[in-house]
Amino acid sequence: MSFPGAVLMGAQARLLDPTIPYRYFAAALGFHILLWALIAAFPEDAAVFAGGSGPALAALHSLTLGVLTATAMGAAFQMLPVATGRPLRSTRAARIASWFFIPGTGLLIWGMAAGEHLPMALGGFAVALGLGIFLVLISEILWRARGFEPLGRFGLTALAALLVGVALGFVLIMDDDHGFLDQRARTAAVHLIVAGFGFMGLLALGFSHVLVPLFALAQGVPAGESRATFALSALGLVAGAAGVYHGVWFLAAGGAFFGLLGAALHLRGMARCLATGMRKNLGVSALLLRAGWGFLVTSLIVGLVTALGFFEMQGPRLFAFLALFGWLLTFLLGVLQRILPFLGSMNATGAGTKPPRPSELAPEGLLRAHALLHALALVLVGTGIGMEAALPVRLGGIAGLLGAVIYAGFALRIWWLIHGRPHATIKERP
């Protein structure tokens, strides 16, 4: 069966041992707090970051590996077998991947923050091993489920980008000690583009094809439109990365332009899903999704303008900030806000017990407080980067930290309501 809702049918039967996805989600919540704490504690580094080890690089990887990639791993292990009907080859391997990936990320971030090569290299190696296992397990599922076109096309390309991104990251770590790269800054920029837009970005676009119609109870995106979005996005990615690496700025600008066309097409499909869906009131999560999409477009416009030479150093910094924090982090928090209560409720259904209400799992007030603080953090840190001023970055970091603590509280609350509290039993009809 290949329809978006296959994600639901068989969901209970095929739900993983919840400790597998939840360990990745728990790690992501912890790194989410850490990244804002690093920004709040070291705002000068974030405001004028131009590469090199230090707290800003550590905060950046706390976001990209600790939050975005960890969540993608948990979500992929949890949802792809259910969505495609193809089971994971080995749940033990999914656990082993976490043993390498989660502590490896911690060690890598510590090495980056302290500017110490050995923990960076050991952490990077462990991260690469964990991601390697993830890549094998997930690419096998996607390959066997090629009939579900959008997931297969976006997912497999995202995994190819992950391979390139990890390889470039490892080269950058080795270069940090040995200094063999001629074009270190450009290699780092390509690493950011391939890992951010290629891996996480394409994965976000692919998952959106399933999740947004599911949330809104809407018709999926037509195949032709999805193929065109993919072609434009992939073309933009390749052109952007090649242009940046070779310093051919019109090629990089062309990459941003094709990316914008792909994003516009994708957003048209998503807007149609939300407008025509049977569920109109999607709460705070829809606000975060829409804000994330807005940041996607803004980041590509800033990238285009930067490639055309209109910005100084603030251009690349703002481009990276808007794409990674504005688009990917905001979008991911919006998605998690809906799928954590959903998965929790699916885990709680059955065995004659009455699962908690969705609003019990996701209280609106808590979610609004988080969204407000997240928005404040983005505005303040973005302003600080644009002005190269530490104070707004520090204030933004504090707002982000408070928001991240609230978000972790939201997730822990779901865990407690599902797993820690006894449930009422269902009265069967005579």
């Binding site: 069966m1 599911l214 059955g350 209400r357």
Partner: protein, 170 residues
């Protein structure tokens, strides 16, 4: 939602659409009037909404649920997976008494209006019904109906439609 091939599934889908529209109006009423702030049940728009909620829920928990449990869930279990119909049936068991209670409060409010106590109960029960029913419909719309549309034979459609009409008529 999806372009469903079988008429019986299209009928159930149309009932889901109508139910979600009523539930959205109910949620708006609950949002506009807190649990301690009963609306005037005789006011035209409130009375119309209460009548629509009672009609939709009354029909849903009797014919719609019963038909699914009697004719579709066993077929789905036979063709695919017994766990899913069991989960959906358990959700029916949770929603059914809540919906029946809500319909009973509406019947009382029609004659006596809402007191602070009856509105508070209506507010809590109505909110729970709206949430649980919408979540339940989400599962059926995204999973059960499209899956059955792929699995059932076209010649099963006519007898199923007849059975549903008879169930409603009876």
């Amino acid at each position: 939602m999806f372009a469903l091939r079988l008429g019986i599934l299209r009928s159930l889908h149309e009932e889901h659409v109508a139910m979600l529209a009523v539930l959205e109006r109910l949620e708006n009423l609950l949002a506009a009037n807190g649990p301690r702030n009963p609306p005037d049940a005789t006011e035209e728009s409130v009375a119309k909404l209460l009548a629509d909620v009672a009609a939709a829920l009354g029909d849903d928990v009797t014919h719609h649920y019963a038909f699914e449990e009697a004719r579709l869930f066993p077929r789905f279990a036979e063709l695919a997976d017994p766990g899913i119909p069991e989960m959906l049936r358990q959700e029916h068991e949770i929603i059914r008494p809540l919906a029946e209670r809500l319909v009973a409060i509406i019947a009382q409010a029609k004659t006596d209006g809402f007191t602070t106590a009856t509105w508070a109960e209506f507010h809590g029960t109505g909110g729970e019904v709206a949430e649980r029913e919408a979540f339940h419909i989400q599962k059926e719309e995204m999973g059960l109906l499209p899956a059955l549309d792929q699995m059932l034979e076209e010649d099963e459609d006519g007898p199923l439609q007849m059975a549903y009409v008879e169930m409603k008529g009876g």
